[in-house]
């Protein structure tokens, strides 16, 4: 198969620095404003009030978070808002030491998928962990730390992070 491999020209950093190749650059200025929609609009409103809310399906009975106006499994309209707890269980987590453009972070960010109490099993949301010691593990119980009401804006970041729950706090 070697004869059917084209030997592409591999450019090195020096080729640019020393002006051996020509190139063009563009700096896009793309801006968007997204409508939150019906289900997520209510979700954000509840976040602002310091609460998590889900939505349930009349056919499969799943209580879903993030909430949605239709069940993607039964393909029918969901029909009820279900108040949920602000506690949950860590389904998985990471310690991320770099930004998206691979710049080293001084303090790692700790994203996690957190199964929310009151929703159906496995129903998690993406959020961040904080106040975490090195013993962090999957299955750990956590609780939302809310921003003070005056700082909330109706955003997923109205929860500052989730912190571990001690067994005595359950």
């Amino acid at each position: 198969m070697e004869e059917f491999v084209y030997d592409a020209v591999y450019l090195r950093r020096e080729d640019f620095e020393e002006g051996r190749v020509l190139f063009e650059t563009w700096d896009p200025n793309a801006q968007y404003a997204w409508d939150a929609g019906v289900a997520i609009g209510r979700y954000l409103q509840e976040l602002k009030a310091g609460r998590l809310i889900g939505r349930s399906c009349p056919e499969c009975q799943r209580i879903m978070i993030p909430p949605r106006m239709f069940c993607e499994s039964c393909f029918c309209a969901t029909d009820q808002w279900v108040p949920l707890e602000d506690t949950g269980t860590v389904l998985t987590f990471s310690r991320c030491y770099v930004t998206w453009d691979v710049i080293q972070l001084e303090k790692p960010k700790m994203p996690a998928v957190i199964e929310i109490d009151g929703a159906s099993p496995g129903m998690g949301i993406l959020h961040l962990l904080g106040e975490v010691d090195p013993g962090l593990e999957i299955g750990m119980r956590v609780q939302a730390i809310w921003k003070p009401p005056e700082e909330r804006s109706g955003s997923i970041t109205d929860i500052a992070y989730f912190r571990p729950l001690e067994p005595s706090e359950e």
Partner: protein, 399 residues
């Protein structure tokens, strides 16, 4: 629960379809050639490999991943001249990282439908244009309202999935690092490889910088530029063009929910569904006996293991043990990624998936040179994966 009760029709086409030619460019970190030029080089070599010209091509399938890599809107139209698309029916399929194998599937159904006799499939990716890092192109994959305010990056979803997989089956980093070592060593024999390394060790992987634990630098495939092309023909043409057509026996693809935080991340059920569809079509009832060689998608080392389990080639949680025991080595019982995979050859997204299909083509024809798997394999599969960790694309091919 998965979907709303999937049924596999096991339907086949009366039109047999074969891969008859393949060509590719070298995979490099940053190519001087433009995306169009890379496409042309691969397409032209694929035609040359089966002694056809563009006049013999009835339609063109183009696979290329996010437009945002290139900053070119509708980039398959931009690429089409380099892909041989001028004045022909052209289509682009796009399922993220799953695109490379999906493009071959599209090539198959273009011919299997009876619409066309011979189709040129070209997959190209030039990730290097996107500054300061092509990860920027992936930031918009997350939900704009419920996730992006948390400033996620693409590494998160891999790290979260890898941790879920390791935790479910009690796996160690060492169990998984063997995949990276195998693939980078295999790639040392691939003439197009970017990161082939015959001397790499498990400790090298375990000592590489931590990006997003448990993901370390050498667990990850590199940013890459490159292109790959295949020629796919109906049986009546294939038999005339070559003495060694490689038949496409089964294809499958499947998409999981985009509510990814509601899934069990430790098992790729969508890969299993795609595999079941392809196996049904190919008449495969015992994949572990009937598949002789596999090229599962390996953008990260754990993904190869995850996908081998989804493909039902190993029991859940058992692929790491098999890898440690040498089963997946090029001379093992089930050679896996003999090409060197994305970890070794490189990961120009759509082109990387089609490279896997090309590898099965070359291996089954006995033309893989120093990478040739012993024992004249008769049937192999390639699989890719992508979108928001949710699509599986599978193709089964045989002599």
């Amino acid at each position: 629960m998965y979907g709303n009760g999937l049924k596999h029709s096991g339907k086949r086409s009366n039109q047999r379809v074969a891969v008859v030619g393949a060509g590719m460019t070298k995979f490099v970190r940053r190519a001087q050639e433009t995306a169009k030029e890379l496409s042309w080089e691969a397409a032209h070599l694929a035609l040359q490999s089966c002694e056809l010209t563009l006049d013999d091509i009835d339609a063109v399938v183009i696979g290329t991943a996010p437009d945002a890599f290139d900053g070119v809107h509708m980039k398959s139209e931009y690429l089409s001249d380099g892909c041989g698309g001028w004045g022909k029916p052209v289509i682009r399929g796009y399922v993220g990282g799953g695109t490379g194998v999906f493009a071959a599937i599209q090539g198959w159904y273009h011919v299997a439908s009876g619409l066309f006799d011979t189709v040129l499939v070209v997959c190209e990716e030039k990730m290097s244009s996107c500054k300061p890092h092509p990860q920027a192109a992936f930031l918009t994959i997350f939900d704009h309202t419920t996730e992006r305010p948390l400033e996620p990056n693409l590494l998160w979803i891999f790290a979260l999935e890898m941790n879920a997989y390791m935790n479910r089956y009690g796996l160690s980093k060492r169990d998984i690092a063997t995949v990276s070592v195998k693939n980078k060593r295999n790639a040392a024999d691939h003439p197009a490889a970017l990161l082939g390394d015959p001397d790499i060790t498990v400790d090298d992987v375990l000592n590489s910088p931590v990006l997003a634990w448990p993901v370390q630098r050498l667990d990850v495939s590199p940013v890459t530029d490159g292109a790959v092309a295949l020629v796919i023909s109906a049986s009546q043409v294939a038999r005339r063009v070559t003495r060694k057509p490689i038949w496409i026996e089964g294809v499958g693809w499947n998409l999981d929910t985009s509510y990814w935080t509601n899934r069990d991340l430790s098992y790729p059920v969508y890969v299993e569904e795609a595999a079941r569809m392809a196996y049904d079509m190919a008449g495969i009832t015992e994949p572990r006996k009937q598949i002789h060689i596999a090229e599962p998608y390996d953008p990260f080392d754990y993904k190869e293991l995850h996908h081998l389990e989804g493909l039902m080639l190993f029991d859940k949680g058992q692929a790491p043990r098999a890898a440690a025991d040498g089963v997946t080595q090029r001379n093992g019982d089930l050679p896996v990624c003999p090409s060197g995979g994305l970890l070794g050859v490189g990961n120009p997204i759509a082109a990387a998936g089609l490279m896997k299909v090309a590898e099965i083509f070359w291996q089954l024809r006995g033309e893989a040179g120093a990478r040739q798997v012993p024992g004249s394999p008769k049937r192999g599969l390639a699989q890719a994966w992508g979108d928001l960790m949710q699509v599986g694309t599978v193709i089964v091919m045989g002599v």
